[in-house]
C-alpha cells in the first residue's frame, strides 16, 4: 500500500469502526432497561455484536496506521472531533420505537455495505465483513420485525414509531455521501462507495415501511458532518461516559 492509500484506508476503517462502536454503546444503554426481559437480552446481544465488530475494525485501523495505537487507544483516547461515525449512530435512544427505527435504518445500510465488503481485496477486512454480515442479517430481521409490529400495532405504537421514523430520516442522507477517500479506495477494491448502496437500501426500507403501514418520510434537509468529525452535542456526553474509566486509569488492565 502506498502512503496515500494507507492514509485513506485508516480513515475508512475509522468510519466503519466508529459507526459500530458508537451505535453499539448507545444500544448497550438499554441493558437492564429493555421493555421486557427477552427484548433486553436481544438488544444487549445486538450491542455486543456491534462492539465486537468495532473491536476488530479499530484493531485493524491501528495496525494500518502503524503508530502503535490499538483498539483501546482509538476507542478511549480520541476526542469527539476525531470520531468518524455517522451522526445517526450517536442520536439518543429516545423511546423503544426510536431505537428500533435507528437500528433498522442503520442495519439495512450495514448489511448492503458488508455484502460487498466481503469480497474486497483486503483479506483481513473481507474476513471481518463476512463475520459482521451474518450478524447484520439478524439485526435487520429483528429490528424489521419490530418496526412492523409497532407500525401495524396499536394506534399509539403506530403514532410513536411514525414520529421516530420522521425524526430519524434527516440523519440517513449522510450514510450515502461518499467522498474522495471512499472513491479512491473503491477504485482499488478496498472499500465500498456508500453511494452505490443507496438504491438498494431505499427499496428494502420502503418494503418494510409499507408492511408496517407507515409513511415513508420525504427527503428534506439532511444532516451531515460525522464523517469529518463534526458531531452533535450528544457524542460528547456519550464519550464522557464511555471513556471515563479508561481515562481515569490509563494503562490499567484486568
Amino acid at each position: 500500500m502506498d502512503e496515500q492509500t494507507s492514509r485513506d484506508f485508516f480513515e475508512y476503517l475509522l468510519r466503519l469502526g466508529d459507526d459500530r462502536l458508537i451505535l453499539g454503546h448507545r444500544v448497550s444503554e438499554w441493558c437492564g432497561h429493555g421493555p421486557i426481559l427477552e427484548e433486553d437480552i436481544a438488544l444487549s446481544n445486538i450491542a455486543l455484536d456491534l462492539l465486537g465488530q468495532a473491536n476488530l475494525l479499530l484493531q485493524l485501523a491501528g495496525q494500518v496506521e502503524g503508530q502503535g495505537r490499538d483498539q483501546d487507544a482509538l476507542a478511549y483516547f480520541r476526542e469527539a472531533t476525531q470520531f468518524r461515525n455517522a451522526i445517526l449512530c450517536e442520536t439518543p435512544n429516545g423511546d423503544f420505537g426510536d431505537t428500533i427505527v435507528r437500528q433498522f435504518l442503520y442495519s439495512v445500510y450495514a448489511l448492503l455495505v458488508l455484502d460487498q465488503l466481503q469480497r474486497c481485496r483486503h483479506e483481513a477486512l473481507a474476513g471481518i465483513a463476512a463475520k459482521a454480515y451474518k450478524e447484520a442479517r439478524y439485526h435487520v430481521r429483528h429490528s424489521g420485525e419490530w418496526l412492523i409490529k409497532l407500525g401495524d400495532g396499536t394506534e399509539e405504537s403506530h403514532r410513536r414509531v411514525q414520529a421516530a421514523l420522521d425524526k430519524a430520516w434527516s440523519y440517513t442522507g449522510e450514510l450515502f455521501v461518499g467522498d474522495d477517500i471512499e472513491r479512491r479506495l473503491a477504485a482499488q477494491g478496498l472499500a465500498v462507495d456508500p453511494a452505490s448502496v443507496r438504491e438498494g437500501w431505499l427499496a428494502q426500507v420502503k418494503d418494510v415501511v409499507a408492511i408496517a403501514t407507515l409513511t415513508l418520510p420525504a427527503d428534506g434537509y439532511m444532516q451531515r458532518g460525522g464523517r469529518t468529525g463534526r458531531h452533535t452535542e450528544h457524542l460528547g456526553h456519550l464519550l464522557a461516559e464511555m471513556q471515563i474509566v479508561a481515562r481515569s486509569f490509563p494503562g490499567a488492565s484486568w
Binding site: E38, K149, G153
Partner: protein
C-alpha cells in the same frame, strides 16, 4: 418505559405477552429437547427471543417454539393410574435378554 402494548397482547389487563416453550436440537439427528420458555408477541419474535436466550453459544442448530397454551399436560392426580409402572407385569420389561458384546448399552 412501560411495556409496549401490541395488537397481539393478551386482553383483560394481562401485561405479559404469550408464553412459548422452546425446544432446541443440538446436532443433526439429535432429538429436539425442551430448553425453557420465552415470552413473545408472536411466533417470529418467539423464535428470535429463543435464539437470543437459548442458542447464543452454539447450543443449537434448530429451534422449535410452541405456544405453551397448546401443550396438553398430565396432571399430578394422574400419577397413580396413569403412570403405574406395572412392575408386577415382568413381561413388560425387556430384562431377559443377554446383550451381545460390542453393543452399546444405554
Amino acid at each position: 418505559m412501560t411495556s409496549p402494548t401490541i395488537a397481539t397482547a393478551p386482553k383483560g389487563g394481562e401485561t405479559q405477552w404469550p408464553l412459548w416453550e422452546v425446544f432446541t436440537q443440538e446436532e443433526a439427528g439429535a432429538p429436539h429437547q425442551h430448553a425453557g420458555s420465552v415470552h413473545a408477541a408472536d411466533a417470529e419474535l418467539a423464535l428470535q427471543n429463543a435464539r437470543d436466550v437459548y442458542a447464543r453459544r452454539n447450543e443449537a442448530i434448530s429451534i422449535w417454539v410452541v405456544p405453551s397454551v397448546t401443550i396438553i399436560a398430565s396432571t399430578p392426580e394422574d400419577v397413580g393410574p396413569f403412570f403405574d409402572p406395572a412392575n408386577d407385569k415382568a413381561y413388560r420389561h425387556p430384562q431377559f435378554f443377554k446383550t451381545p458384546r460390542g453393543v452399546r448399552v444405554f
